[in-house]
């Protein structure tokens, strides 16, 4: 399942006015790259809840 999903109505134009990234063509790698380069903000994306899995066994 994709980690990054743009909020409703949010589109990105990272390569100029004629470019368009929305939920139909974004990937997690792209989202992280665009955030890192300052062309998208974390707030552009829906909150991602990462399900923590409980570790079993000896953790020493």
């Amino acid at each position: 399942m994709a980690k990054y999903t743009l909020k409703d109505g949010v589109v990105l134009k990272p390569y100029g006015e004629n470019s368009l990234i929305d939920n139909s063509n974004i990937t997690d790698a792209m989202a992280e790259m665009l955030i890192a380069k300052g062309r998208a903000k974390k707030e552009d994306f829906k909150q991602v809840t990462i399900k923590k899995t409980k570790k079993h066994g000896n953790s020493k």
Binding site: L12, K13, P14, Y15, G16, N18, S19, L20, I21, N25, I26, T27, A29, M30, M33, L34, K37, G38, R39
Partner: protein, 340 residues
């Protein structure tokens, strides 16, 4: 589509100049920025060759064949495309355009409308569309193939930036693959199997007036040295906005001024010419002009419009332009693609 007209019935006078949208010129054709391979009615073959000579130890007996001799053909078939629009000149009979209609009820065609709207706006839009598709076109199939590649950190893989640029800027259900698409995905190789383009990739950043020289340095350094040895020098193909970024960079007194040298409308970086074409922001190509091909039947087709009545018994009209077009990138491993 009919004429979309919000005109008023003319009773008094109309200001003479008609304000037109400002359009870019199709510099790719007007300035001959790539190589035009015309007279291609259906298909043409581009042949590339390479060879490797391998020195080996002398033996008196049976020698072992070593090295390689390669030649491969790429068949390029331009797509036949058209622009077509219908309109009814009667729509304009009460507007300012009636002043340029010849006397007589048979005559309802305005020469002013033809000059300003058709010749001044629609025809250049046809040419610009042909140019945009040449640089940015991508068929749905190729776009999907690029999206399916696995990004990685080496030149043998696609970068996340390249993939994002392709997703964001290429295509819109084009009829053929344009230059940027061909840089990223093609079958122009010895095996003939379609795959990632063999360009030299440079992963860049967001280009602005403060870092433009540093980013062009990266592109310059990625050009294979052998390319700079030849008589023909590579060009930088840059987005239009770089003209402004270069001017702003040069206006900063602290910057070294000889890197970017504007002379009139000509710009150079480290002595190599920069030309401005409709490619996305944060993307620059460096290639020999002889490596980039605009393949077509007749180059002047982009400026040929047929304007006639739809039928002899009708008064509404049509505009039609037909052309064949596709792109081809040769000698891929000597070209550089910067994507930030």
């Amino acid at each position: 589509m009919a004429i979309v007209s919000n005109s008023v019935d003319i009773r008094g006078v109309a200001a003479e100049p008609i304000i037109e949208e400002i359009l870019f010129q199709n510099n790719t054709i007007a300035k001959g920025l790539v190589t035009f391979e015309d007279d291609i009615k259906a298909e043409t073959i581009f042949t590339e060759v390479s060879a490797e000579a391998q020195m080996q130890a002398f033996v008196s007996g049976i020698p072992t064949s070593d090295g390689s001799l390669n030649t491969w053909d790429t068949v390029v078939t331009p797509a036949k495309v058209m622009f077509y629009q219908e309109f009814d000149p009667e729509t304009l009979r009460f507007s300012r355009y009636k002043r340029s209609m010849a006397p007589g009820a048979w005559n309802n065609f305005s020469t002013e409308f033809e000059r300003v709207v058709i010749g001044g706006q629609y025809a250049p839009q046809v040419s610009l569309s042909a140019e945009r598709n040449f640089w940015l076109g991508a068929t749905a199939a190729t776009k999907a193939a690029i999206a399916a590649l696995t990004p990685g950190g080496t030149n043998a893989t696609i970068s996340t930036e390249e993939q994002a640029m392709a997703a964001a800027s290429l295509g819109a259900a084009a009829q053929f693959d344009g230059i940027l698409t061909k840089f990223l995905y093609n079958d122009s190789r010895a095996s003939g199997v379609a795959g990632l383009g063999e360009r030299n990739r440079v992963v860049g950043t967001t280009i602005d007036s403060s870092n433009i020289k540093a980013e062009y340095d990266k592109i310059y350094e990625a050009i294979p040295s052998v390319v700079l040895q030849g008589m023909e020098k590579p060009l930088f193909y840059a987005p239009y906005s770089h003209k402004q970024l270069i001017a702003t960079f040069n206006n900063n007194v602290a910057n070294y001024k000889d890197a970017f040298l504007p002379m009139g409308d000509s710009y150079t970086f480290n002595g190599l010419e920069i030309v401005f074409v409709p490619i996305p922001e944060n993307v620059v190509i460096s290639a020999l002009k002889s490596h980039l091909f605009w393949c077509t039947d007749l180059v002047s087709d982009v400026s040929r419009l047929k304007l006639e009545k739809i039928a002899a018994n009708r008064e509404d009209m049509f505009l039609k332009s037909i052309m064949t077009e596709t792109s081809h990138v040769a000698n891929q491993k000597f070209n550089v693609l910067y994507v930030g």
